[in-house]
């Protein structure tokens, strides 16, 4: 499952989790294949991103960690670890936060902020 920004949605992508508007109205159910028209509706409702099922190719294209050269990924991981207090004692939540930060580092490395 990957998150795709609404403007990058393509017809044929499969919705991986129900998309609802702020009032809880269902806009696209899990498992449905998006049509052009549905994508327009999601955009009109101001949905910013949708979780869709990932084919192997697409997962790679959307995963910054997979796009980095392995030695760069190792360097970013080591640099980040050095900043955290006792990273060996991480429970599940700090581990998730660490993953999120690594992803952010990778994105910034691939697309440096202007």
């Amino acid at each position: 499952m990957i998150r795709v920004k609404s403007e990058a949605l393509q017809p044929g992508m499969m919705v991986a989790r129900d998309v609802k508007n702020i009032d809880g109205m269902l806009l696209a159910p899990q498992g449905c294949e998006l049509s052009e028209r549905q994508i327009n509706i999601l955009q009109a409702w101001g949905v910013t991103e949708v979780e869709v099922e990932a084919g192997a190719e697409m997962a790679k294209a959307h995963d910054p960690l997979a796009q980095l050269p392995p030695e760069m990924l190792a360097k970013l991981t080591a640099d980040l670890r050095a900043r955290f207090w006792k990273p060996d004692d991480f429970g599940p939540v700090p581990a998730e936060i660490f993953k999120l930060m690594l992803l952010r580092q990778a994105q910034q490395h691939l697309r440096p902020p202007a």
Partner: protein, 284 residues
């Protein structure tokens, strides 16, 4: 060896001034007392200070508020953001003014305020995500959460020096070094300062327990600032002197009741807002 100064003594020595925005704040207060008060009298009071006007419009039109370049006059900004919120923002930036003279030798002030603003942004976003009332209060709480460090640096520089020496030689967290050398930490100093400035108790609680949210009487408020601080340290935006990402309190996390999946969105929003907020508050 002499004893470290008491928290009270340090806090009492901090000059109480509203800095360069003092006249505007007094004028807003006076306008609010008047039965003829309306949005344009408040707008006029603000507009007498062109620098403040520019900053306010910059912030109002930034992703922080999300009105996307639609506000062109101060009166519009006042009506959409609210007087309370604008007063809070002006008071918050006058605190920045207050510690201008603190030397950069131990803590770089630009980096310190960058960190503080980012924690303010993150705390406000977390409060909005959790649908807590008055999320903007959390911006002020985040902005001021480490102000105790500035009090120490400005009022007892030699003791701050000792704290940093201990921090570096013993490889412990900066807050642990504070407790070891001084017997108290920066959150206790900040609590005393904000209390003496008559800040609302909720805000004092959120700042006073941002490292130990479970000891607070308003645990949830303190938890919001705690988690915001953790996230911003992890993102590496500025620094208040601590080089490590301090540990996350599990209880505070469960109290806030957010999923880790929600964090990606918040982290992205902090990145999107920090530049404009920095420009509004820090640009000279």
């Amino acid at each position: 060896m002499t004893n470290p100064p008491t928290i009270k003594a340090m806090v009492q020595a901090v000059p109480r001034s509203l800095g360069s925005y003092g006249p505007v704040l007094l004028e807003i207060e006076a306008a609010l007392q008047s039965p003829q008060c309306n949005l344009s009298t408040i707008g006029d009071a603000i507009q007498k200070d062109p620098d403040l006007t520019a900053r306010l419009l910059r912030l109002a039109n930034s992703p922080f508020f999300g009105f996307a370049n639609r506000l062109s006059t101060v009166a519009e900004a006042v009506s959409l953001l609210g007087i309370q919120q604008i007063q809070d923002m002006i008071v918050a930036s006058s605190v920045l003014d207050q510690f201008k003279g603190v030397p950069d030798s131990l803590v770089n002030k630009d980096s310190f305020w960058r960190h503080s603003l980012a924690v303010g942004i993150a705390a406000r976003l977390l409060a909005m995500e959790r649908r807590l009332p008055k999320p903007d209060k959390f911006f002020v709480a985040g902005l001021l959460h480490d102000v105790g460090r500035l009090v120490l640096l400005s009022q007892a520089a030699e003791w701050a020096q000792k704290v940093f020496e201990c921090y570096q030689s013993e490889k412990i967290l900066l807050r642990e070094a504070e407790k070891k050398i001084l017997g108290y930490d920066h959150q206790q100093i900040a609590a005393e300062l904000l209390q003496s400035w008559s800040y609302p108790p909720v805000l004092v609680q959120a700042v006073a327990y941002h490292h130990t949210p479970n000891q607070s009487v308003s645990k949830l408020d303190a938890a919001v600032v705690h988690i915001a601080d953790h996230l911003v340290n992890a993102m590496g935006i500025g620094s208040s002197g601590e080089q490590f990402v301090p540990p996350l309190d599990d209880k505070a996390w469960s109290l806030l009741g957010l999923e880790t999946e929600n964090l990606a969105k918040i982290v992205e929003a902090v990145d999107a807002q920090i530049l404009a907020v920095e420009e509004a508050f820090l640009k000279k």
